[in-house]
Symmetry: C2
Subunit: 337 residues, 2 copies
C-alpha cells in the first residue's frame, strides 16, 4: 500500500494535521496555564501515516452516493482512533520508534502516552459529532457511533487475545484468524461501515462494505506477516529476524506447524523458544517453511480474502469510489512494505 491512489489522501493529511492544532478545550479560558496534552497529541497526529482507514471511510461514503465533505470529520476521527491504538501498542510492544520518530512514550513518558491515547479515543466521537454541523442526519450519526464503538471494543479484544496466544505459543489457525479479524479487520470494517452509514447507504450496501473491510483487513494482516519473508530482491523463504526474536506467531509459522511432521514441530518449537542461535533458527525455520510450502499456502489464503473483498464490492453499483476500493484489493496482496 505504497500510495493511497486518491486525491483524498492529501485532503486527509491536511485535515488530520489541523485537527489537534485547531482544537480548543471546552468551557474555559486557560489564561496562560500550560496545556501539555496539546503538544503530545499534535506530535502523534502530525507524523505522516498511510491514512488508510480514513480514506476507506471517505471512499465508502462516496460509493453509496454520499458527499466527502459531509463525512470528513468522521474520517479524521478514524485516524485519531488508529493513532491512539498505535500510541498504546508501542507501550505494550516496547517499540521505540514509530513512523521514523521516537514513539510517544519514549518522547513524553509512559504516563503521558497513556493519557494522550485516551484523549485521541475520545476525539473519535467528538469528530463524529461534528458531522451534524455538516448536515448529516442524527440517526446516521448514532448508527456510526455504535459501529465505531463496537469496532473499538473488538480491537481491544484482539489485542488481549494476541497477548494470550503469544504467551501460550498457540499455533492454531482458527485462533490466529479470530485475532486478526478483531485486531486489524474490525477497524477496517468499522471505517467502511461508518462511511456507508454516514453517506446514507441502504443496509445491504452497508453490509457489503463491512464484509469488504473485514476481508481486506484480514488479507492486509496476512500480507503484513508475509512481508517478513520477502526482501526487495524477492521472497527469501526465511522468517524475519525480528519475528523470530519476538516469538511472533505469523501465519506461515502457524501453517507450517499444522502441516509439519512431529520433527518439523520440534524444530519450530526449539527455534521459537529461543533454544537455537539466531542464524541456526532462521535456517531451521526456513527449511520447515519450504517443506510444508507454508509461504505459498499463506499467499493463497490472502488471495482467498482479497477474492472475498472483491466479491463484496460487486454488490455495490459502479462508481469512482468503488473503483478506488477495488484498487486497494489488488494493492493489498502486491504491496512490498
Amino acid at each position: 500500500m505504497e500510495e493511497i491512489p486518491s486525491a483524498h489522501a492529501g485532503l486527509m493529511a491536511n485535515e488530520v494535521k489541523r485537527r489537534w492544532e485547531s482544537f480548543t478545550p471546552g468551557g474555559e479560558n486557560n489564561e496562560g496555564i500550560p496545556d501539555p496534552l496539546d503538544e503530545i497529541c499534535s506530535y502523534a497526529l502530525t507524523a505522516p501515516g498511510k491514512l488508510f482507514r480514513p480514506v476507506l471511510l471517505l471512499l465508502s461514503a462516496e460509493s453509496v452516493g454520499g458527499r466527502v465533505a459531509d463525512v470528513l470529520p468522521a474520517a479524521v476521527g478514524t485516524e485519531c482512533g488508529h493513532v491512539a491504538s498505535l500510541i498504546h501498542d508501542d507501550i505494550i510492544d516496547g517499540d521505540a520508534m514509530r513512523r521514523g520518530r521516537p514513539a510517544v512514550y519514549r518522547r513524553y513518558g509512559m504516563d503521558n502516552a497513556i493519557v494522550a491515547g485516551d484523549a485521541l479515543l475520545f476525539q473519535i466521537f467528538l469528530c463524529l459529532a461534528e458531522c451534524r454541523a455538516a448536515g448529516v442526519p442524527d440517526g446516521r450519526i448514532v448508527s456510526a457511533m455504535e459501529i465505531v464503538a463496537r469496532a473499538g471494543v473488538d480491537l481491544c479484544r484482539g489485542q488481549a487475545l494476541e497477548a494470550e496466544i503469544t504467551s501460550r505459543s498457540a499455533r492454531d489457525v482458527r485462533a490466529y484468524l479470530r485475532m486478526v479479524r478483531l485486531k486489524t479487520a474490525a477497524l477496517f470494517s468499522g471505517a467502511c461501515q461508518a462511511g456507508a452509514v454516514l453517506g446514507g447507504g441502504p443496509p445491504e450496501w452497508v453490509q457489503a462494505l463491512g464484509e469488504y473491510g473485514d476481508a481486506l483487513g484480514i488479507a492486509f494482516q496476512i500480507q503484513d506477516d508475509l512481508l517478513g519473508y520477502v526482501t526487495d530482491a524477492g521472497t527469501t523463504g526465511k522468517p524475519a529476524t525480528s519475528d523470530i526474536k519476538n516469538r511472533r506467531l505469523t501465519l506461515p509459522i502457524i501453517l507450517a506447524y499444522e502441516a509439519g511432521t512431529a520433527r518439523d514441530r520440534a524444530v519450530l518449537d526449539a527455534a521459537l523458544l529461543g533454544e537455537l542461535a539466531i542464524d541456526e533458527a532462521l535456517d531451521a525455520v526456513g527449511g520447515v517453511l519450504r517443506s510444508t510450502e507454508a509461504i505459498a499456502r499463506s499467499t493463497a489464503m490472502a488471495r482467498t480474502y482479497t477474492d472475498r473483498a472483491a466479491a463484496a464490492l460487486a454488490l455495490l453499483p459502479a462508481s469512482r469510489g468503488r473503483d478506488h476500493l477495488a484498487g486497494f484489493v489488488e494493492r493489498t496482496v502486491s504491496r512490498v512494505r
Copy 2:
C-alpha cells in the same frame, strides 16, 4: 459520600455488574477460543464503587422530567468510563490496590490493563447507543455523545496538567483549580448534562445541571484533599503522610504557600522536596498550615463551590430528583471518607 441516598444505587450496582457479563463480541462465534478481555473487564467492573457519576446522570434525567429506564444504559456507560480512568490512573500513579483488591495492572499485567481501559472507554459509547432501543430520540443521543466525549478529553487534559504541575512543583491556586475542574469536575458535569439532555431537558436546565456538576466536582476534590488532614477523631491540622511522600499538591499546601512568609515557603519547599525526615516534615508543614489558616481557608473555598452548586439547582423546578441532587451538595462537604 458514604452512601448514595437513593434507590438508584442498587439499581446501578446490578446494571453495572451485569454489563460486561452479558456483553458478547460482535459478528462472530468464538467457538471456544478464549476471550481474555471479558475476564479482565468483569474484574474491574464488579468491584463495588460509589457509583456516584451514574447516579448523577440518572437524577439529572429525572430532575428534567425524563425516565430513569430510558437513560439507564448511558448511566452504565458513565461508570464504565470512570472505571477505565481508574485502571489507567492506577498504572500512572503506581497504586497497587483499588477498592480493596489488587489494581487491574497488578492482577493482569500492565499491557492488559491498558487494553481493558481502552475497551471500557469504547463501552461508554456502545452503552449510549443502547438508549436508542429504550426510545430516546437520536438527536439527544448525538448531543450526549458530544458532551461525554468532550468531558473525556477534558479529563485527559486534567491528568496531563496534573503531571506537569507536580513535576515543576507549581503552587498556584489558579492552575490547581483548572486541573481539578478538568480532572474531576468535567466528568461530574458531563454526567449531569448528558442525563439532562437524554431526559429531554431544555438548554437552560442542561446548562444549570452542568454548572451544578462542575461546582460539585470541584468541591468534591477540595474535600478529598482535606480528608488527608482529618481523622475519625477530628481535624489533625497535619498533612497525610502519603500526601507528603508523594509530593502531592493539595489545596491547603497551595494556599499556605501563597499566604505564607518567605520562611514559611522555605519550610514547605524543604518538606515537599523530601529534605526533612517524614515526622519532621509533618510537624513543619502542620505549623505553616496553622499559621496561614490554610485548612479553614480551604474549607471556605469548598463551601463557595457547594453554594454555587446549590444556586444552580435553584434554576430547576422542584422534584424528587432535584432534592436528591441537593442532598449531594451537603454531603460533599461533610463526608469523612
